[in-house]
């Protein structure tokens, strides 16, 4: 089989590609359900049930992409996995606690008596917020190459806010697509704020990013790579602009256009992710460890790849199937 003939280098590229795919899909999918968690009003005005129902059938599978991403890192780049997670021990713990809280709140709230429901909603919101902040913070520290000085902390804080804003934006877009009436109108307003926050966030993170690593700065500021690369932020800002205009026009008609903001958000996520990926390739940890330095044993990776070749397309297929089954506006998605 062709897998047997793969060179170490192409194996490394395949696995870093799979890792990238898992992280990107995670950010988009769990991104929207985390964002909706952050958006959940503390005082329920009748929308909480709908907001949570809009993510009901999906959140479990969405979170599984994180397990896959961490799994691939663990399996293919074990040295990077242990270096990263030991450096980020406390923020990773905080993130896990956040994920635990929100994951269980979701199920508890549907089963308890009415007055406890509000407490679980609060836990859901807090858990989601803790998770998004911790993920953004870790991303920030990661991008600095695991530094811990004051500048790195500042950058990580910026990144924490930026990632949270991005998740809130995509969450609001999801609500626009899935809901009707008051909640939809509200979600449109949230999404518009989200666009503004994201424009500022992307600009700030991009500029800060240029100051971090000499080779990244050179990559971005010299022709011809710079020209190709700078197309990415230009495209992202254009898309966000279009997104804002679409959101402006949406309140008039409920219909097919409601899905557009979500797809725009997903595209913007993809663009931001590509900018990161192209900046740091072939590093697994920026400035610290490259793919070839941390790649694990080829034979084991080939053994896993044989299965992955068959299973990953199936996963994508049935994920799409489930999204189609539950597509369209939320009617009375009942948890039975």
């Amino acid at each position: 089989m062709f897998i047997d003939n793969l060179t170490t280098e192409s194996l490394g590229n395949i696995y870093i590609g799979l890792l990238g795919l898992a992280i990107l899909v995670y950010a988009i999918l769990d991104g929207y359900d985390l964002g909706i968690g952050v958006l959940l009003p503390i005082q329920d005005e009748g929308h909480n049930d709908k907001m949570i129902a809009s993510i009901g059938p999906y959140w479990d599978a969405n979170e599984t992409w994180l397990v896959l991403a961490v799994g691939i890192l663990l399996i293919a780049f074990p040295a990077a996995h242990s270096e990263l997670l030991q450096s980020l021990y406390l923020p990773a713990t905080v993130m896990l606690l956040g994920l635990i809280l929100r994951g269980v709140s979701f199920d508890f709230r549907a089963k308890v008596i009415e007055h406890q429901k509000q407490q679980w909603d609060l836990t859901f919101k807090l858990g989601s917020l803790i998770t998004t902040l911790a993920q953004g913070y870790m991303l920030g520290i990661y991008v600095t190459g695991l530094r811990s000085d004051i500048w790195a902390q500042g950058f990580a804080t910026l990144s924490a806010v930026g990632v949270t804003a991005a998740y809130v934006f995509i969450g609001a877009c999801w609500l626009v697509a899935k809901t009707t009436g008051d909640l939809r109108t509200k979600a449109i307003v949230w999404a518009k704020y989200g666009v503004l926050a994201l424009v500022i966030g992307i600009a700030a993170v991009s500029l800060a990013n240029l100051t971090l690593h000499e080779n990244v700065r050179q990559l971005w500021l010299s022709a011809p790579t710079g020209l190709v690369l700078s197309a990415i932020p230009v495209l992202a800002f254009t898309l966000l602009g279009i997104g804002y205009l679409v959101l402006q026009r949406l309140p008039e008609v409920e219909g097919a256009g409601d899905k557009l903001p979500f797809f725009i958000a997903a595209l913007v996520f993809t663009l931001c992710f590509s900018a990161f990926a192209l900046s740091y390739y072939p590093y697994v940890i920026p400035g610290q460890m490259t793919i070839s330095e941390t790649l694990s044993n080829s034979d084991s990776l080939k053994f896993l790849l044989i299965g992955a070749v068959f299973v990953v397309p199936c996963i994508l297929l049935y994920t799409v199937m489930v999204y189609r089954i539950f597509s369209g506006k939320l009617e009375s998605l009942r948890y039975h």
Partner: protein, 450 residues
């Protein structure tokens, strides 16, 4: 406290909390499939009622299993970097296959199972229930293959301290794997059976005299009655397998210090590791030799043959007795229960209460069993290949102390919330009206139950 001890405590805490929920869902998934099939085959809505109650318990347990499982995948890196450095070439792909073939399957089709009943055709809903059950079983397959390899490693070679795969077939189907797999699946079956029986009994106690709890109760009692003798049989085989491959573990389980011919079966004792002897022994002469070698004068190796290489004796010794004791209790209760069910339509109230007290007996037995096998593997992480102390992280102990305290707090909170929610669900279900459409007559009910 040092980072080694704290990391071990934290891992033990995490995995003990985690295993509670897969132990329920692995078999509950199959119960749900059975309920769904019965619902498809009979005209009576009672099976759907049962399904709808237990699918909620499944969803809640599954969510707790997922979130505590995510934690586990991080801990390998955060606390046990040496594990992946030394045996990652073996462990990695097995974990990878678990994520790919099981986690996505379960999580995705669970969405259809919970929310899709009015959106998809009935056959697809039934199929989704089956797929989720298969997914949980596949998950058990891979993780138990890895755990069994850590107990009885084979199919690999060591080059410069690092393990490399030679034969994946031998790695996956290592000597202890088949026994551990069936032992665990049966443990899950028993845990789910006693959970169903216990909560159904609780609903009856609350005055819920509808058909659903009674029928679920009966189904679960019969299932337990069939599974427990199987479990005792498989457990015995597993013990013999352990004797062959990990004699020091069996010596700790039986509290045998000196190699003996005709070793006694200790019903109770207090192992004293400093003096390397037992106190307050209550023993059946020649019992251990008879059970383990099927010869009353059979020779059993003692712990003193493995000094410095055997596990701490007391926790293994006690856990083993708790597990076996719980198994015997399950046998007694499920058989008495079945005898009553065969003769009459309800159980006497004292027996109902016994079943309520046994609701979580599966948890106790499963945890005790895992303590036997996991503590029994010490001081090794991978038998003969990697010592636990060699795999631990170098990060400051304070960090682990902080995370350990946080995890402990949140797990206690979640466990209490889980138990409380189960009780609330029973109360809510008890308040629901019985299905009383005229077409479902007593006749139909009898058909449904037969």
């Amino acid at each position: 406290m040092d980072v080694f001890l704290l990391s071990r405590l934290q891992f033990a805490l995490n995995i003990s909390f985690h295993i509670l929920f897969p132990t329920i869902t692995m078999a509950l998934g199959w119960f749900l499939f059975y309920f769904k099939l019965r619902s498809n085959l009979s005209a009576h809505p009672v099976w759907m009622r049962i399904y709808r109650f237990w699918v909620k318990v499944f969803a809640l347990s599954f969510a707790l299993g997922v979130v505590s499982g995510v934690t586990m995948s991080f801990q390998f890196g955060t606390n046990w970097p040496g594990f992946m450095e030394r045996v990652g070439n073996i462990a990695g792909p097995l974990l990878g296959y678990e994520v790919l073939t099981a986690f996505f399957l379960e999580a995705t089709f669970l969405g259809i199972m919970l929310f899709g009943i009015h959106r998809v055709p009935n056959w697809l809903h039934t199929l989704s229930t089956l797929v989720v059950a298969l997914g949980t079983t596949a998950s058990a397959f891979w993780i138990l293959a890895l755990n069994s390899w850590m107990q009885t490693p084979q199919g690999h070679e060591i080059i410069d301290g690092v393990a490399y795969a030679v034969s994946w077939k031998e790695i996956i189907f290592n000597p202890s794997f088949p026994y551990r797999f069936f032992h665990m699946m049966l443990a899950s079956g028993l845990t789910a059976s006693f959970l169903i029986a216990g909560l159904s009994a609780y609903r009856l106690l609350l005055g819920d005299n509808k058909r659903a709890p009674t029928l679920a109760f009966k189904t679960a009692t019969y299932t337990a009655a069939v599974l427990i003798p199987l479990q005792i049989f498989v457990g015995d085989l597993h013990g013999l397998n352990t004797l062959e491959h990990q004699p020091q573990k069996v010596a700790a389980m039986e509290g045998i210090w000196e190699t003996t011919e005709g070793a006694p079966l200790l019903l109770f004792a207090i192992p004293d590791e400093e003096e390397r002897t037992n106190k307050l022994e209550i023993a059946i002469p020649h019992g251990a030799s008879f059970i383990l070698t099927h010869d009353i004068n059979g020779r059993l190796q003692g712990l003193n043959d493995f000094e410095g290489e055997h596990p701490p004796v007391a926790p293994v010794f006690y856990s083993f007795r708790i597990m076996v004791g719980m198994g015997m209790l399950m046998l007694l209760v499920s058989w008495i229960g079945s005898t009553y069910w065969l003769r009459q339509k309800q159980l006497p109230s004292w027996l109902n209460k016994v079943f309520i007290s046994m609701t979580f007996s599966g948890w106790v037995a499963t945890l005790a069993g895992w303590y036997v096998t996991e503590i029994g593997r010490q001081p090794y992480l991978v038998s003969g290949v990697l010592k636990t102390s060699e795999a631990v992280t170098q990060i400051p102990a304070d960090n682990v102390l902080i995370s350990f305290v946080l995890y402990s707090a949140i797990y206690v909170f979640l466990l209490l919330a889980y138990l409380r929610t189960l009780m609330v669900m029973c109360r809510k279900a008890s308040d629901v009206e019985e299905y009383s459409r005229p077409e479902f007559t007593q006749l139909n009910l009898q058909q449904a139950e037969s």
